[in-house]
Symmetry: C2
DNA sequence: GAGCGCCGTCGAAGCGCTTCGACGGGGGAA
DNA sequence: TTCCCCCGTCGAAGCGCTTCGACGGCGCTC
């Protein structure tokens, strides 16, 4: 193994000079730097990560905690993960993958052993058990998702409330006056997952603001449930002309169910969804939708962490604005 | 930060004794060990990962390289990743996540800086550019998937050839005499991805062995392509009564297409697939299928690495036997 | 009863890097 | 011309852990 002393000897300087040439933490003359770089290249030198971590008390590794739970759309998690890794690499950091299964103990372990410098935690619940720990940890962290009490934490996510509103505004702008929200499975609300409730809030507020009749229906993630919800919605609101869907797996079955009940999409019924673009686009009737900006959230969380590691203060909440993509499933009220 | 010397002082022993009590590399009296453990608990001691890595030249971290490419079923990748992490933790190791985008340079970096002790590489191509590097690296690696020339490497995967055969045997056992294979998109074969070709080999060999008329059809991953393939298959083989599908996204569209052409599944046509169980089970007609045993492959790759790290020789090839789950889509030939 | 060997523990020497204080020399200010 | 300061570099001291050789003391053998 070639080490820093080898490089130093080869370049005719001291090890500390090599270190400074590499880190830029002290001025080094252009000429010396070039010579050092040349030696590094010739010898194929790579600084030993452990030694570096020990001496500098920086591992240049971030922890990423991913959820395993059902009801979470896996491809979106993967997108997050990939964008986190990519963004981390831009800052010369690597990413350690943790599963939620490891729980608090896992977080504490990687933090306390100095394996990682900072943590990114996905899928934060409203009353997440990990919050006190994250607040107490001596390492910075960023949460993807918003807990009920975000004080002392740094959070980032799509602005789900605004997303709920935007769906309604879109439908309202098309003249729809009676709409429904088909939401996530009941257990998601019971678990008090922030984003599901926020969609409801935005939906309800915007409907009220626009003088629109509306109702909200949680829905299990299977076709039969979708059919039931569709029937119930039509029974309770025969004048229904707009639906917002926040439940990936039932998007297509729900449209099928409405059509089976005699409603054409978008002829009789306009549908918007909050779901990945890839899903919205491949449904039989491509659906007007708001996507989870997974890549942006991932990259954003890394940027926040880097700032925190650098000592720059960051906002407690970062809400990414929803963007609605209009597709074939919405149209003005007949 | 509490360090090993603090523990040593608290327990009234030397630091080396604490180290040995922790690692078990030298005999320590039961009494001393208990005292040390008690001190560790009381002080909340956690060994510093960097210091440990430096002194022992073991980081206890594995690298996992995940693919990003299109045509790869994302949830399966995620399953791999999760099972790798879980298995690694059982051996007191962590997992560093790398994207394929980082390429050879990324592999070399994490290996040469001693950030990781060993590597797991997913989605290996038949003529993968990373093979020479992996062979040359001074750290052990395991490939998920089989390259054309696996000499000097350790590989693990589902036995796709046997999977192709098993599908055919199943259909043959039900009396089917004319069958087709609907395969992956053409580019997958062009790219020379091993597993797709192996399914074809197994399929063809078993069909021949059983005196069955067969043909193979690559298929793009969209419903329109599925329809075309269905039509073509029926035109070329009007007596067709069995189909093997190795292409996740078109499984359902293909069944729809056949039914639209007047063939009932499984009444007129038996269908088997090689795809995740989760997909096979949720199709309108649940499909008899062979799943990618993602969890087994992930856990298996970790076990192989641990053996290699421990100096135990391991087989060059580990082929996991396919398991066929019979569902509603296959039935004896009328 | 003397000697041998083994068990359990200690001390010290690194592992490879960063960082801090120090220092020589050259340029600018007075 | 002298003094000061700053730029660029060096040397040495750790960072916290593992590991190797050494060494007492006990039990056993002969």
């Amino acid at each position: 193994m070639v080490k820093i002393t080898d490089v130093a000897r080869h370049a005719g300087v001291s090890p500390s000079t090599v270190s400074y040439a590499l880190s830029g933490k002290r001025p080094i003359s252009e000429e010396t730097r070039q010579r050092v770089e040349e030696s590094i290249r010739e010898l194929g030198y790579r600084p030993h990560a452990g030694a570096r971590a020990l001496a500098s008390s920086r591992s240049n590794v971030l922890a990423l905690v991913v959820p395993l739970r059902t009801g979470i759309h896996v491809p979106v998690v993967m997108q997050f993960a990939v964008s986190v890794v990519t963004a981390a690499r831009r800052h010369d950091h690597d990413v350690l993958l943790l599963t939620q299964e490891e729980g608090e103990e896992g977080l504490r372990r990687v933090a306390d052993t100095a394996l990682v410098d900072a943590l990114i935690v996905m899928d934060v619940q409203l009353h997440d058990g990990r919050l006190p720990l994250l607040r107490a940890l001596d390492r910075p962290s960023v949460l993807i998702g918003f807990p009920a009490e975000p004080a002392g934490l740094t959070c980032i996510d799509l602005d789900f409330k605004a997303a709920g509103e935007l769906c309604v505004e879109h439908l309202a702008g098309l003249g729809h006056r009676v709409i429904g929200l088909v939401g996530s499975p009941p257990e998601v609300y019971v678990r008090e997952t922030g984003f599901a409730q926020r969609v409801v809030q935005g939906f309800t507020a915007a409907a009220h603001r626009n003088g629109i009749a509306s109702s909200v229906h949680p829905c299990e993630a299977d076709p039969a449930a979708a059919r039931q919800v569709a029937e119930r919605l039509l029974r309770e609101r025969p004048a229904l002309t707009g639906v917002v869907v926040h439940n990936e797996p039932v998007l297509e079955p729900l449209i099928d169910a409405f059509e089976a009940l005699g409603l054409r999409v978008p002829g009789d019924l306009s549908v918007t969804a909050i779901c990945p673009d890839e899903l919205a686009a491949r449904v039989r009737v491509p659906v007007t939708s708001i996507a989870i900006p997974a890549a942006e959230v991932g990259a954003g969380s890394v940027e926040l962490l880097m700032k925190k590691l650098g000592g720059t203060p960051v906002p407690q909440a970062t809400l990414l604005p929803p963007r609605l993509t209009v597709r074939a499933s919405t149209r003005p009220r007949p």
